[in-house]
Symmetry: C2
Subunit: 319 residues, 2 copies
């Protein structure tokens, strides 16, 4: 059973990576590490009904399960290489497997990522992916390292995924705007190229999975600094702004999870060159605030008033 | 949330491994690979009610989740190094977390294995562990490689875990014999040292997770050979033999899963020296049959009659 399911994905993700000495089909995979690199690894789980809505199509689940993990590598400035997949399913539904494999493989191929091992079991729909990548020693982007005076930037736009979830919950119109937001929810783009471009330039970096306030808060904690951000500067897509009022879209941008943009800090004099380079990569980067002494994230509205955030992000166990 | 749960395990598995350049707490861990080694990696999932009974204590679940993965490394002849943990729980039960962490850490410390990353989510109790280890290039034990004429051996005894599960299901007496079998089910011993000792000596190797017939069948398929085994030679513990009749204990030894012993093949002239060395490691090894031309696993009873097995192992989706 195990191999037949995993094989469907493997067939779609056949990669001619020389470093895969032994792939799927034995008790473990065997990989050759490039010399002079550190190995970056992360694992993330998605559970139906918590990390994706119950009626999400299989291909989107496959894509997103890998995307959220590639986003972790992106946030470290690592180059993706290999993945392991643990897939728990209520039953051996072939159509689901094929769809899942299609979505997973579509994203894997973009990064020449090889699926080298997996396990399939029966149970509530749960997907764990472990990803592995390379980074030159000492060059990884970390959460710690933000310096007082740094500018705080984010790639892309914020709040789209939360807006997309709201549209799904409201059985929203299937127009182009809501379709865009739902696609941002179901098919997030891991900012791998941006992460690589930020190596040796960003002082601290994280991906926005739990919401800007929560994730920038992680940078502040790890770096023993505070941050101030201005709501007027938060990048919001035209789709989000057209479908939601200002208060809602702002709430989504501050506290919505699942955007998988990068939030990072750079010395102020480096902002322009970083923005130029990230614009070339197609995601852009917007300056949203600054690192200050102290602790925690403070938010200033368009009138210069400090806000009291009510929801700082997602905590799956407090929901 | 994530870090608080994973931290409880990390605190119990604090390892001073020089190769962990960045452990739990960032978007990914950073590891330094030893030069001249290949990286072996595997992932396995355990689901409550399928891979362990619903009333299994947390410490046993933590132990077993790691043990089944270390067993995969053992079957490759790899030295364990690092693990990632994806833990899905119905609720944030502190007692469960502490118990799980105790069991996981107890086994991890035996192998100086470092937990370097993790993710906790809410959902049906599901545990995925990804393990990573080292093996010299070209020296890994594989399923392919069994040669006609090889002897087939297994470490330890077979059928104990299935016997233990039966005792639990029958609400068996809590005597020493049934306790031994239940312990074999809940706290399997990964045969890591045996796997290392078999490098450059065994032609093929697998761990017995799905049952002897199924797993030896995997060796046969991968090696394009057949195997003949004799029931009279199957190593069965005195506990198993004292609690079950011959037919039941034989069935468990042939088809019961979850023993996590190693099944391997060696040239006939090498059997004695391998047995001597594995005996020194405390697990012993018993010759149970031979590799022959053809395909599949054939079983001969004590009277020399060929048996027709009714159950070849576990398939979680056909159960």
């Amino acid at each position: 059973m195990e191999f037949s399911l995993i094989d469907r994905i493997r067939q779609r993700t056949a990669q001619s990576r020389d470093d895969v000495r032994l792939g799927i089909g034995d008790d473990a995979a065997l990989l050759a590490m490039p010399s002079g690199q550190e190995l970056a690894m992360a694992i993330d789980t998605m559970v139906e009904g918590i990390h994706f809505p119950r009626d999400t199509v299989a291909a989107d689940i496959g894509w997103k399960a890998l995307a959220v993990n590639l986003s972790d590598l992106a946030a470290m400035g690592a180059t993706p290489a290999w993945a392991l997949l643990a897939l728990t399913l209520p039953n051996a539904n072939e159509a689901f497997i094929d769809g899942f494999a299609d979505g997973f493989a579509q994203l894997a191929q973009m990064y020449r990522l090889a699926l080298v091992g997996g396990d399939t079991t029966r149970g509530a729909l749960t997907v764990s992916v472990a990803v592995h990548g390379f980074v030159p020693p000492g060059k990884a982007l970390k959460r710690a390292g933000a310096q007082v005076g740094d500018a705080v930037l984010v790639t892309g736009t914020l709040g789209d995924a939360a807006g997309g979830l709201r549209m799904l919950q409201q059985d929203g119109r299937a127009d182009a705007q809501s379709g865009y937001l739902i696609d941002r929810l179901n098919r997030p783009t891991p900012r791998v190229a941006a992460g690589l471009a930020l190596r040796e330039r960003a002082n601290a970096c994280i991906d926005v999975s739990d919401g800007l306030l929560a994730d920038l808060g992680h940078i502040c904690t790890a770096s023993s600094v505070g941050a101030e951000i201005d709501t007027a500067l938060l990048p919001r897509s035209s789709a989000l702004l057209s479908l939601f009022d200002d208060a809602s879209s702002l709430h989504f941008a501050l506290s919505g999870g699942d955007d998988y943009e990068l939030c990072f800090t750079v010395p102020a004099q480096r902002v322009a060159s970083v923005q130029t380079d990230l614009a070339k990569l197609g995601c852009g980067a917007t300056r949203i605030g600054r690192i200050v002494e102290g602790e925690g994230v403070k938010v200033r509205d368009a009138n210069g008033q400090w806000l009291e955030p009510v929801q700082r992000g997602w905590d799956h166990f407090s929901a």
